[in-house]
Symmetry: D4
Subunit: 248 residues, 8 copies
Amino acid sequence: MDAREILLQVQKGQVSVEEAEQYFRRQPFEEMGFAKLDTHRKIRSGFAEVIFCSGKSDAHLLDIFGRLYESDGEVFGTRATPSQYEIIREKYPQTQYDSLSRIIKIEKPDKKRIGKIAVCTAGTADIPVAEEAAQTAEYFGSYVERIYDVGVCGIHRLLSRIETIQTANCIVAVAGMEGALASVMAGLVDKPIIGVPTSVGYGASMNGLSALLTMINSCANGISVVNIDNGYGAGYVSTQINRLVAGK
Amino acid sequence: MDAREILLQVQKGQVSVEEAEQYFRRQPFEEMGFAKLDTHRKIRSGFAEVIFCSGKSDAHLLDIFGRLYESDGEVFGTRATPSQYEIIREKYPQTQYDSLSRIIKIEKPDKKRIGKIAVCTAGTADIPVAEEAAQTAEYFGSYVERIYDVGVCGIHRLLSRIETIQTANCIVAVAGMEGALASVMAGLVDKPIIGVPTSVGYGASMNGLSALLTMINSCANGISVVNIDNGYGAGYVSTQINRLVAGK
Amino acid sequence: MDAREILLQVQKGQVSVEEAEQYFRRQPFEEMGFAKLDTHRKIRSGFAEVIFCSGKSDAHLLDIFGRLYESDGEVFGTRATPSQYEIIREKYPQTQYDSLSRIIKIEKPDKKRIGKIAVCTAGTADIPVAEEAAQTAEYFGSYVERIYDVGVCGIHRLLSRIETIQTANCIVAVAGMEGALASVMAGLVDKPIIGVPTSVGYGASMNGLSALLTMINSCANGISVVNIDNGYGAGYVSTQINRLVAGK
Amino acid sequence: MDAREILLQVQKGQVSVEEAEQYFRRQPFEEMGFAKLDTHRKIRSGFAEVIFCSGKSDAHLLDIFGRLYESDGEVFGTRATPSQYEIIREKYPQTQYDSLSRIIKIEKPDKKRIGKIAVCTAGTADIPVAEEAAQTAEYFGSYVERIYDVGVCGIHRLLSRIETIQTANCIVAVAGMEGALASVMAGLVDKPIIGVPTSVGYGASMNGLSALLTMINSCANGISVVNIDNGYGAGYVSTQINRLVAGK
Amino acid sequence: MDAREILLQVQKGQVSVEEAEQYFRRQPFEEMGFAKLDTHRKIRSGFAEVIFCSGKSDAHLLDIFGRLYESDGEVFGTRATPSQYEIIREKYPQTQYDSLSRIIKIEKPDKKRIGKIAVCTAGTADIPVAEEAAQTAEYFGSYVERIYDVGVCGIHRLLSRIETIQTANCIVAVAGMEGALASVMAGLVDKPIIGVPTSVGYGASMNGLSALLTMINSCANGISVVNIDNGYGAGYVSTQINRLVAGK
Amino acid sequence: MDAREILLQVQKGQVSVEEAEQYFRRQPFEEMGFAKLDTHRKIRSGFAEVIFCSGKSDAHLLDIFGRLYESDGEVFGTRATPSQYEIIREKYPQTQYDSLSRIIKIEKPDKKRIGKIAVCTAGTADIPVAEEAAQTAEYFGSYVERIYDVGVCGIHRLLSRIETIQTANCIVAVAGMEGALASVMAGLVDKPIIGVPTSVGYGASMNGLSALLTMINSCANGISVVNIDNGYGAGYVSTQINRLVAGK
Amino acid sequence: MDAREILLQVQKGQVSVEEAEQYFRRQPFEEMGFAKLDTHRKIRSGFAEVIFCSGKSDAHLLDIFGRLYESDGEVFGTRATPSQYEIIREKYPQTQYDSLSRIIKIEKPDKKRIGKIAVCTAGTADIPVAEEAAQTAEYFGSYVERIYDVGVCGIHRLLSRIETIQTANCIVAVAGMEGALASVMAGLVDKPIIGVPTSVGYGASMNGLSALLTMINSCANGISVVNIDNGYGAGYVSTQINRLVAGK
Amino acid sequence: MDAREILLQVQKGQVSVEEAEQYFRRQPFEEMGFAKLDTHRKIRSGFAEVIFCSGKSDAHLLDIFGRLYESDGEVFGTRATPSQYEIIREKYPQTQYDSLSRIIKIEKPDKKRIGKIAVCTAGTADIPVAEEAAQTAEYFGSYVERIYDVGVCGIHRLLSRIETIQTANCIVAVAGMEGALASVMAGLVDKPIIGVPTSVGYGASMNGLSALLTMINSCANGISVVNIDNGYGAGYVSTQINRLVAGK
């Protein structure tokens, strides 16, 4: 029995005001269509649920993967291992797996990609994280330009690509070690930059904390930061911004 | 117009089902008596709102103090400075201030204090934090035994008071420096211990982080921990537990 | 020769006052029945000794397991590996092992479970720690409700279960990553909340330190915290509180 | 002599190809209008230069303030002290100073404010940082809604304002202590959230590091984070996003 | 009634064995002369109680100072401020105060000093901590040689004094900044070295943590370490060792 | 079409001034010979590009290795694994691999080595990092003296080699654990010292952070520091300095 | 008498070559027989060189092991792996290996053990580190009492053994997790305590840092601390102290 | 030839006392005139002793200042306060004080400045540290170019000055906040860069630790780093390098 029915019965005198008040007092969320609203929000926004595969048991993963696929006709998972892919592929042979980004997915064909997001990396070792960002954004319908290996210790590499970067709606800056890429780019563009520190480095890089601190402390305007190696998060936020511009 | 009125009007046919549904869908909380429920919870549980005075402007503090006093007939603030006391006393001369615990209050007379909480400190420098805990618990209606300066580097001091401690419903262990008091006590009693690390110490005590880590890593059973110097939090939790035992 | 015998001999004149005084002065603990008292405390409180299996050698573990089983007729171990289970099962085939919580045990049948503890998790990855808490509490005789996957980034999930949570005597809030679950729940219930940060997360989660800091710094009242991944500790403390209410 | 003149003289044969090549090789930036382009970018983007007043000498500050005012007809400074205001007001009596946000400015009248940014705080102590964000966004031409004191330990406060928040183009979430506000909001809205950890708190909050870690580790989608207490940065980024939507 | 009396009454039949057993079971510590034993230990070991003056209220300090002076005929306090000295001197004009070490004391004349402790510093800025160590050791009856400003960046300074250092029973190595003094000395002597890191330094010295880590990680044999700036602790431990050798 | 051609065409009237201006405005870097300049700088400075092998895929590594070898007639890679060596050797049998320093290379014969760099270690466990420094410097044309196992806990070992060290143009000091070597050497020589902390150690050495802090906080003059285990970086910087002296 | 005079007297035959050699031998270093002096110091002090086996190559280890054995007739190594033992045993079948402490040795028979060192642990998991300490001390000629599993969460276990501990010349306190053992013992004994934090624990124990901080911040007198898991260091220092007392 | 042989030959008259004395004098330390040698090194290298004024007592400072002035005819102190200047000026009216760099000095006139060091800053707030570096280098005889406010968030500022920077013998890069300046410059020059992190910043800059980590983790070649705010250290090292090139 949902909220509407309760109200209809109140109207008809089949349920007393006291009973109805009790009902609404106790279950202010679920029964009132809150969950539906929530489902509705997902459909409307185009951000279907995504699977964080890391650490999930095979049975659990297979179950979620199947459920989402059946619900949406497509499904997207991050941080999948090759062996997780093997297990899923057995049941869903159409599944695609990219060993670089560790993304596993079944995607609807001919998806339209709007706007423009520039995903940049400082070095080649940052590319797996960048691909997680880029492919996430693409799955959610963004057009992505990849500009890799333009780190600040060879500034001319970045400058030679600056026009492409400047015309994006949002820039994702992926960098490990000292993580200075975001700062330099922020002085050259006027669009929001999402900084993604990576765990690339050694010694005092402390698995990405150094790059995170660099980005958070940037003297440049227009930078906000997500977690270390969180390519998915950057792909998500940049798509939110890209959609705001490009329609949706 | 609150939830009951809406329902009455639905019953009377003065409001359509659609309108009522819209109403409940949009404001699931406030209008449905959620706020009242919340107020109700406070009255029922006896935990009136408390003022964290630190950093509040004089005007702001005076306003909140007055509003709570008028609402409840009593009022309780933590971390008040002497000059904040001066300002409040001018308008509310019956206000009491304890410069050790930095608690400011107007309290109803003849409050009944139930159950028993043991508030213990390792050293004398921990007493201000312990007093914040003890006086908070007393304000909320708990009976408190103070057992101060029973730190582990003179274990006989603690052992000589152990019977008093063992008969409490809940123990608050306040300690800075290496903060070992909670561990030792947990081996001697069978009631929950709330550890309160303090910022007492110097050098590698890092303003209480060392004591916090000691308590969090305790090998003993029955310890849970609140923030550094958070006497108020310990007084609150220990009263929750004490009430569960001593009636309510 | 124990304390009683000494005193009897003093009474009979077989031991001088000086000798007896020497005796009590030297061994104030062991001989005076302290150890017995301690054993007595365990029996009385119902908290039998528990084995922390991690890192124990096979021989050592088997020995302790057997000794406790013979003494109490039941035995309970945490953080056991599957291979440890194999070794124990060979000798004690009635042993039960739960690979999720890593708990190994022989439990007396038809144990009565009193009161109510709500064990909640933010995500599904926190469930192993939550199960350690829940099964510990159950072993010690508490009735446990499991409310899993109610993290704050989908607040309606938590709100839809809030009544169940509100009626528990004590709540265990298990959360990794940013660990905000405890704070949100503390605003919705009036019972003590035991926060258990987990090592779930990556990057700047620093193996659970981030979640620990979140819980320790909570602005909400009524939260105290145990070590990262310490489900056992939370199960113990929550049982202490639950027993205080539910009789014992 | 700028790039155009050089080229004109090459065309006229007054400068040899070798000389021109040398010129462009040596000064690829300044002379080629790079600085002008940069100035142009500022005018076009509407983000005039802002003064970070903290630590600047009086003479230095007065000089920059005057220069920017003369150049743009308005000027905006952050983290100004009351005594810095006194010095500036003497020369520019039309200067406005807000002691809460510590913003000092001369602003053109009747500035149009477009779109909508929601600036939210967990507690009242976070308001100074929130005001820095809000007033920065307003100075740069954004319409701002302030939703203060909606921290997660009283979730109904946040839920009662959720519709206002959901309709903003971008949300700024300002929170100290455990900083859980951003996570909870991210589950309720589908717009980008800029998290601003604040140094509000004590003990293990470590001057805002705890809140920073909470926000960076959020399990929710759509959050990116700026530095502790960096209201200005959040105002800037949120305006970038708001402009992308609301026109430009 | 103390333990002896109980036993005498047991002997005389005035107290039953059951009553006596109860007595010893309940108060195993205090009544059995444990506290006396403890006092005895102090007198025997020559380590009278010392006052940590920092943070003590004037009244409290004066009270403890007086009580210890009356009990022992001498008294010793560390970390005293000049104003604390003023207050004590008014009542006890014979009090001595050393503004460098911040030690306040009344000491019995003609105290014999035995053995030999070498107290060394890396720089002149470490001298206040070294003096706290040296004067503590002297108060407790050790003979002390001061070897100051022999830091490792001018190794010849240390080598020129090495014979004096080698003949001590124990060496105290006081050093801030990088704190390498202890390591170098440990390769040159065969006596125990007590390392005292100091908070001297700036930047990445993090108030002495760097020096602490240096000493704790020393590759040299024979070093153990006390807290940052803990001259008193080093004076105490080195005296324990010196006494073991020099008689006592 | 490069910059020169554009200018020639401007001169000839084949390209308008506006078109040329547009050209230089858009590509201020690449087309203007910046990249060439950059290549030129490498050739001139003698620092050819070096491969950081760690984490590179086999295909990627083989490709870069081949490309650099073909371009320069020699090639140098750091942090190569034995299996990476196997793969490269198959195609380039003349490749040399040193399993200690993990350096892989094809080097031109009879390379002249100028000047003098002293590479010193505290212990034998630091030698792999030292070899990375030494062989890097040698590859870039520096003459290197190796002075290993001269740690400060046996100062005579260092002193016995001091003359060799004093006559170098630059000293590389490689040390883990407490990392005091650089400080002691800086007091004995008047040439720049490059400190290389290593991850050698355990416990509170925190994988080299302790040694890094020691070197950064050194009270001695003339020390600058590179990342933990960064032998390559030290070999590079010391060669820069050595070349400045020894000609080039 | 300075160097010149000595030489003049040698020239005149007033001082023999042997006496002069002795003179220069005392003044440090190389040419003067420092290495010999150093050897002499080792022989005199009884602290022969010890091998830290961890990370040594098989060839290197075998070489050092053999050289030391030939020089001293016995040899002692710490942190040896079983496979290192296999390699050594092949050549030196009389070698002994203890898999708990990971000590490998050939020891002269009938070694006299003097004095008394008490090696105590908080839990059973700390025993490997304690055994490294105990066996090191025994190898160097100390008599050792082992008092294991006397952690502070069951204080009666410690108290029941206190007399044994009190009569030692030096106490080694080995503890992980919260590491409170040293503090409690320091209040019960008057001999120096060497604290050894261990990496036993999980979560916020941060591999022993928590225990290290606890011991360093102890409010008790008479504690100094060595590195995490550094049983060898504690065995060395405690033997230095024990020898000072027990003769040698 | 060893010590004994020398002595034998002295005895036999085959080696003169002067020759033997010379022999022992070369081998280091006290008796052999080491202090003189050390003084000689200072005179030869031109690095006279410098006073670190911070924390020195007035009397102590005045004494050292006078002693060095008398010895060398000039004197140089860092981190002097205005009140320290007042005290010194009274006695030495010719003393100069720069309130920006906090350097106090009496300098010989017409000092020749050789070579070229480029001292660069990211922002204006870094200038005090840069001036400490620049004036130190100038005092020690280096020619210095100041290139201030060329931070990476406006990369054209840096590029417009690059030729000046490229022609220096050594570059000092001074930067706070995210500290990315050194990395960008290292890609543009082929001379050694000394990175100086500054404490400029707020929030997660942690008083310069973030900038320190950025510089230490730089992916660029040719950077080594000194302590936070250590302008003096950078001035010293850069002068060492500059001298190696420019003669001296």
